[in-house]
Symmetry: C2
Subunit: 352 residues, 2 copies
Amino acid sequence: MEEGWHARESWAGPVNWLVILAGGRGERFWPLSRVERPKQFLRLLGPTTLLQDTASRVAPLIDRAHTVVVTGQAYAALVEQQLPGSWVLGEPVGRNTAASIAWAAAAIGRRDPDALLAVLPSDHAVADPQAFQAALAQAMASAQSRQRMTLLGVEPTRPETGFGYIEVPTPSGDAVMPVEAFVEKPSRERAAAMVASGRFYWNAGMFILPLATLWEALGRWLPDTRDAVSGPAEGFDDRFAALDPVSFDVGIMERADRLDMLPLAVGWDDVGNFEAVARLLAERAPERVIWDRVEDVTVIGDDGPWIAGVGLSHLVVVRTPDVVLILPPHESQAVRTLVHRLQETNEGERLT
Amino acid sequence: MEEGWHARESWAGPVNWLVILAGGRGERFWPLSRVERPKQFLRLLGPTTLLQDTASRVAPLIDRAHTVVVTGQAYAALVEQQLPGSWVLGEPVGRNTAASIAWAAAAIGRRDPDALLAVLPSDHAVADPQAFQAALAQAMASAQSRQRMTLLGVEPTRPETGFGYIEVPTPSGDAVMPVEAFVEKPSRERAAAMVASGRFYWNAGMFILPLATLWEALGRWLPDTRDAVSGPAEGFDDRFAALDPVSFDVGIMERADRLDMLPLAVGWDDVGNFEAVARLLAERAPERVIWDRVEDVTVIGDDGPWIAGVGLSHLVVVRTPDVVLILPPHESQAVRTLVHRLQETNEGERLT
């Protein structure tokens, strides 16, 4: 008691909160992911799920009691099972990330009005968690002292056209810098030029948000959203469902000025499809496999039949008890096509 | 009663018997075939097994009550299940086809000393069963009237080096001809020359055998075998196990003179490996499959998970509940390698 009281008295900073956005549904990981168990709840890369990895990665900085997970109501039980002790906000319907972050801010603000929020996606991978923790601590300290919304910007390793980019004034190593602009999904040529310039970083949806600053920005740019999440419990679901679905990037970040960014070089990966999983698992010895003269073939998924093969190369095999999916890695995006086809047939049970 | 009595009285020919050799073990169809269920007991090409197809194909000529199936003791129950009403001879150990045919001959000879035996493998496919029946009837009539052992020789469609060939004096269409010689597994060049000559046919192990002629040949070339199968029931297993394993081709056919052959052009296939199965199933719409941009991919096996695929070509997928095998068709022979590897590891349960 005595010690705890002293600790609290002597502590001068804000209360740090981790906000994990775990509302993703996603079709790119079928048949491993299903409607009832999307990507963030899967053991895609090891013995723990991507959601659990996200929390573990931050655990040295923010404990479970200060972890808020925003997800769909249908997934609330899964979150409680995978991250027991966290605070789960189950959205009645998905209304994109601005609404999710606003709701988390309102909920946390009632307990800690001076909180500092670290908002992270739930379904990414980080090769170097220690480096990630150091960068996160640095960004949180900067965001707090400057009272600025601060992004973690991922150093780009390829001219990716599917991501958004954050522009900063100078190529720089590890200092916090002001954000100059956002560039959404550039052409291949522009992406290559941006990566070459050293002044553009991937926007991976990792935000450090002083609560007061965030609340002010919400009031200015998305007042309906702020009102919906801060009103009385009664009528919450209806107010929430009535919101325009807008991303936090578009609704707040691209409109706000006085944003900061800290470069992040930690082996980040958005684990966007099976090709990425295969790349991340490349070193792992596959389990429950028997084969001969097989090269660059990755078996993803631990449940389901043994996989046997002869004379194969350049394939991903996704194993589940009721479906085995086979495709070349570069076809990973086409999984959606199969899912849509299943939706159109009466084989919908393959999706759940 | 009256009618049956007349029918029997008026019938002057021999009693025709079908002898199906179903002792094959085989590793080429793993994981579909297992130690406990080899190829002939599988529904490889349709709703019935290759063994059942063999009996059905001959049914208009020889009924079930005159069908003898020689198999391993371990498979006797499977045969009784798949061909109820047949007479099953369960060998204590496999001693190759000369011993199998001799045992069937001894068993049948006790009931019908003047029998005519049609001996057929249990695991081949025939595209045109009507044509097969016509040829079989013709060969049986010839074998009976000439009292000669008579082969059905398959018209070769490619210079196959894995088969044995039967040589006849002239290229001929559909007449019974004397056999001049046997050629075992020729070189590619010799096979091509033989096929071009029109005087060589594949030896597919289909024999029409007048019992008396067969018995005499056994007494001359394989007296130990004849004695073993015709001795008293007591000690049978030991006598049988002591026999040299020799094929009927080597032990009898290649030594005998006065053999006949009838050419057979009926879409015969030995269903030697998964590539053959894929070829024979090419027209069939696959079941329990969901895919996109998939070309020349055959799913073999009805049990087990759904198979999904994107952007694949030239593959065979063999589906069972506990193993899914993936390979290019031309690698079908390499399945043995996997089986041997499983035998060497402690994953032997995948084989049973």
